[in-house]
């Protein structure tokens, strides 16, 4: 029996060692740094108590960035997933060419965000790209998304929606596939209208999937970095379009405020942790419906 214990340790050793070095230790170190005023350069790390956290509460940039991030996350989840659900209802109909539609829908999710953000700079440009053709045809002056403080964040949101819609629709479609078609047929025989079928059958049965996708999509959206880094760098006037992670990156690696950035990191962890706990609860419940499910 002793020997098997050693074998167990050997099997988990490579991953566990890396977790210890690159996850557990950095977490503790982050928390420690968040109580310091360190700037990457001082030979001595000076501890300042909760000063960073006090500063954070009074920091206008922090609240602005948190607001931007929540607006981004809520818009992407509601708009993209709302459209995706409608799209999924159409993807679920038995028609030829459906596999083609599904393939196209999934592609943005696989596309490198940096590359997608670059082409979107062109697409939204008022002087070149398809939107400019539209403006030209109607004869109006184009909207300057990226040079407007009010609209730059919406440019970022548009790209976020484009990345999410297709993926979410495939996910919803997979959920719809799991609903027994006999139920629909029975409802139709009973003379139920399409709207009644949607409200009384489809929505209730899809609730776990919808909840799950909303929560995981929300967490993902909270972490948005690439689109901002490539399209706006938080501009045109910082922090007009900065998101939380972009702000964290800027504070740490542009302004070299390691201590203050660590306080932001700890607050971010608490936010994400809360939402993730909720997600795990929901996903476990949802997983048990699958065939290949196992209990921990």
């Amino acid at each position: 029996m002793r020997r098997e214990h050693l074998i167990f340790l050997a099997f988990i050793a490579p991953n566990f060692f890396l977790f210890a070095v690159f996850t557990y230790y950095p977490i503790l170190y982050s928390i420690a740094l968040s109580f310091s005023g360190w700037n990457f350069l001082d030979p001595q790390i000076r501890f300042v108590g909760i000063e960073n956290y006090l500063r954070l509460v009074q920091d206008g940039d922090f609240w602005r960035v948190l607001g931007n991030t929540l607006l981004y996350a809520v818009s992407v989840v509601l708009i993209a997933q709302g459209l995706a659900f409608l799209l999924a209802l159409f993807l679920n109909r038995r028609m030829p060419a459906q596999p083609f539609f599904r393939t196209v829908a999934f592609t943005p999710h696989l596309t490198m965000t940096a590359a997608a953000a670059l082409v979107w700079v062109l697409l939204l440009d008022p002087m070149q790209g398809p939107l400019s053709a539209l403006y030209h045809a109607i004869g109006v002056e184009g909207i300057r998304f990226l040079t407007s403080s009010a609209l730059a964040l919406w440019a970022v949101i548009i790209v976020g929606i484009w990345k999410e819609v297709g993926f979410a629709s495939i996910f919803f479609w997979a959920g719809l596939q799991g609903i027994d078609r006999d139920i629909y047929d029975a409802a139709r025989v009973d003379g139920a209208s399409p709207f009644a079928i949607l409200r009384q059958i489809t929505l209730p049965l899809m609730t776990p999937v919808i909840f799950f996708l909303m929560v995981s999509g929300f967490i993902q959206a909270m972490k948005t970095f690439d689109i901002v880094a490539v399209m706006t760098e938080g501009g045109p006037v910082y922090p007009a379009s900065a998101t939380y992670v972009y702000h964290l990156y800027k504070l740490a690696f542009r302004d070299f405020q390691a201590g203050y950035a660590s306080a932001l990191a700890v607050v971010f962890f608490v936010l994400i942790f809360g939402v993730t706990l909720l997600q795990i609860k929901l996903s476990q419940r949802w997983l048990y419906r699958g065939e290949n499910s196992a209990q921990i």
């Binding site: 029996m1 943005p108 490198m112 965000t113 070149q128 053709a133 999937v209 972490k223 690439d226 962890f269």
Partner: protein
Amino acid sequence: MPRFNREDILSYIVLVTATLLIGLPFYWMLITALKPIQEIALYPPRWLPGEIRWQNFSEVWQAVPFGRFYLNSLFTTFSTCFLQLVFAGLMAYGFAFIPFPHKQVLFFLVLATMMIPEEMKIVPNYLLLERLGWVNTYWSLIIPPAAQGFPVFVLYMWFRTLPRDLLDAAKVDGAGHWRTFWLVVVPASRPMVIVLTLFAFVNRWNDYLWTLIVTNKTVMRTLPVGLAYFKGTQEGGDHWNLLMAAALLAILPLIILFLLLQRRIVEELPALHITSNR
């Protein structure tokens, strides 16, 4: 159903419109990549290039160290995916099949890693890598992302569904855990391994933040950061045709991989997106 009814026509209108909107950025990438430089700034823009210029795709390799970015991306992505799957497989096997006192506690520690956003660790990990002398090396691009909780969790769930007889038979044959893992469990898990590899591949290939932080020399950049760098150079900033050719070449491998494995992904998708590793 041979004839179309009203609902079908409506469905096609919706689906075709959605497809056009979702596909528009790809179309624009392609036609911009094929235009000569004079056509880029035309107003209103051309929906088809007046002159198709295939040379853009060869010139992009000379404009920046694009070849180097590509090799860096390929090498680090393949290495990390390989290590990630092997390490996760071994760990999941340990938790699923080898007895150890109170191993649920250790398993909880592994699950906990999934709740920690990568973004939170960037400052301390940068400092650590700097002390190790790993900044601007392949080590920093390959090793830290190799340990992930997500594939451990998924493989653990999968292993638990494997028929018990399979493992007992291996035991009767006198196979130890090492041989059982490689000769029985891994082959029986092929579908899940393929899907997890693809997900790891997508994650690493497209990753921006980590590369941006642990490298600052141009020769060590990978494709996503390289593209942004290209835009900042004089050649990239004005030459949208070259920039779009580069973007297209960067997204191509994943799209091809997806088309090859498409059926499997769509089948496994619901079972797989248990956590937000996407």
